[in-house]
Amino acid sequence: MTAAWLGPATLFGLCGAALVGIGLFVVITHPGLLRRIVGFNLLGAGIFLVFGAVARRGAGAGFEGDPVPQAMVITGIVVAFSATALAVALLQRLFDLTGRETLEAQPEHLPRSEP
């Protein structure tokens, strides 16, 4: 058990958990939309690190990691980039039309932690 504790898999998995927390916080509370988009990327990075921890733990059969979650991360990174590009384009359009880069009268939306 101690060996797993010291391994990079657990360490980066925990780092991923912390990054999820930080990214979520930016996404929920930051007034600027551009920063929220960066927050989404932090959140995504954290999630991918959890996948990475899973992959590293699954080393075997001569591979240093389970290739399936690694491939999922690659797919995920590309999807995350597409999302960033679409969000940035929408934000720039909103700015061109209104001159602001926040969603005015933004109602608070704390995601509730479900059971």
Partner: protein, 310 residues
């Protein structure tokens, strides 16, 4: 010793993330995020995922960074402090986020040991694909449907971005609009692309058997194209041009066509006949690399900003 190195890397990543969350200036946060992406690439090598490390450094740090920096420059004139979330709301959010992170940490620590893994299954099936890199095998054979749909996601994102152009500009060319092109940039844009293209081709080619592949190669190609457009050596193409659109859909179309051919040749959708699996996969990858490069480049370039010519 390596534990110390890992700890330092993790601490650095978290410090950068906190900096991004707290710093006032958006540009400062974005520069920190680019650094974060590169460090994260290093982290992925520590997790022995070289394919992901390359992808993260190229897309997560690189292209996303360019995109965000351009957006920041575009939005800068309108900086106004938006309605900030109240102090109580922030505390509440911080508690909720900390709880999510803690729950997640517990879940990570509670992963079963020995870890469930598909590595042996992937290894057993690898010979029938003719590939040496198991990640490429997952992406283009075992879970090819994911990859195919993800290509459609990329194209859809581009359609969405293009649809944000005003009606009279739709179909025209995007513009990367640098105020001035400094001499050194123009020089770089002339010298680097030949090397860059070589590296991209190399990355794609070794991807079948070693870390690398379509995404990584495609991103490097996209970066070279963006460099050329940024230095105004070549203008961005009109988005309605058929040649542009054919490059965009070429990869997914070939992928889909070979997928459907699988019905006839290998008894099912996205199945490859074992004898020619590798050439088919490499062919799909080649077309995908070009399509990814075009899509990423155009996603960064954004919606049309000049009206289509007659």
């Amino acid at each position: 010793m390596t534990l110390l190195l890992d700890l330092a890397l993790v601490a650095w990543l978290l410090a950068l993330a906190l900096h991004i969350a707290r710093v006032r200036d958006d540009r400062n946060a974005i520069v920190a995020f680019i650094g974060f992406g590169l460090l994260l690439g290093l982290g992925w090598t520590r997790l022995a995922s070289l394919d992901v490390a390359l992808t993260e450094a190229a897309i997560g740090g690189g292209v996303t960074g360019v995109l965000l920096l351009r957006a920041e420059a575009h939005l800068r004139p309108g900086k106004a402090s938006g309605a900030s979330v109240s102090h109580g709301g922030k505390t509440l959010a911080a508690i909720a986020c900390a709880m999510v992170a803690a729950g997640l940490a517990l879940a990570v620590l509670a992963f079963p040991s020995p870890a469930p893994t598909l590595a042996p299954a992937a290894a057993t099936a690898l010979p029938s694909t003719g590939l040496g890199n198991p990640v490429t095998a997952v992406l283009l054979a075992y879970r090819a449907l994911d990859t195919l749909l993800e290509k459609v996601v990329l194209i859809l994102a581009l359609i969405g971005v293009w649809s944000l152009a005003p009606d009279h500009l739709w179909g025209g060319a995007p513009s990367l609009r640098p105020d001035v092109v400094p001499e050194p940039l123009a020089y770089l844009a002339q010298t680097l692309p030949p090397f860059g293209v070589l590296i991209a081709v190399y990355m794609f080619w070794v991807g079948a058997d070693a870390p690398g592949g379509t995404f990584q190669g495609g991103t490097v190609l996209a970066a070279m194209w963006l460099l050329v457009m940024l230095a105004r050596l070549r203008p961005a193409p009109e988005t309605r041009r058929r040649s542009v659109r054919l490059v965009l859909i070429g990869g997914p179309t070939l992928f889909l066509a070979i997928g459907f051919l699988g019905f006839a040749m290998a008894g099912g959708f996205l199945a490859y006949p074992e004898s020619i699996a590798k050439p088919l996969i490499v062919g799909i990858e080649a077309a995908l690399t070009l399509s990814i490069a075009a899509t990423l480049g155009l996603l960064v370039a954004g919606p049309a900003q000049t009206a289509p010519g007659r």
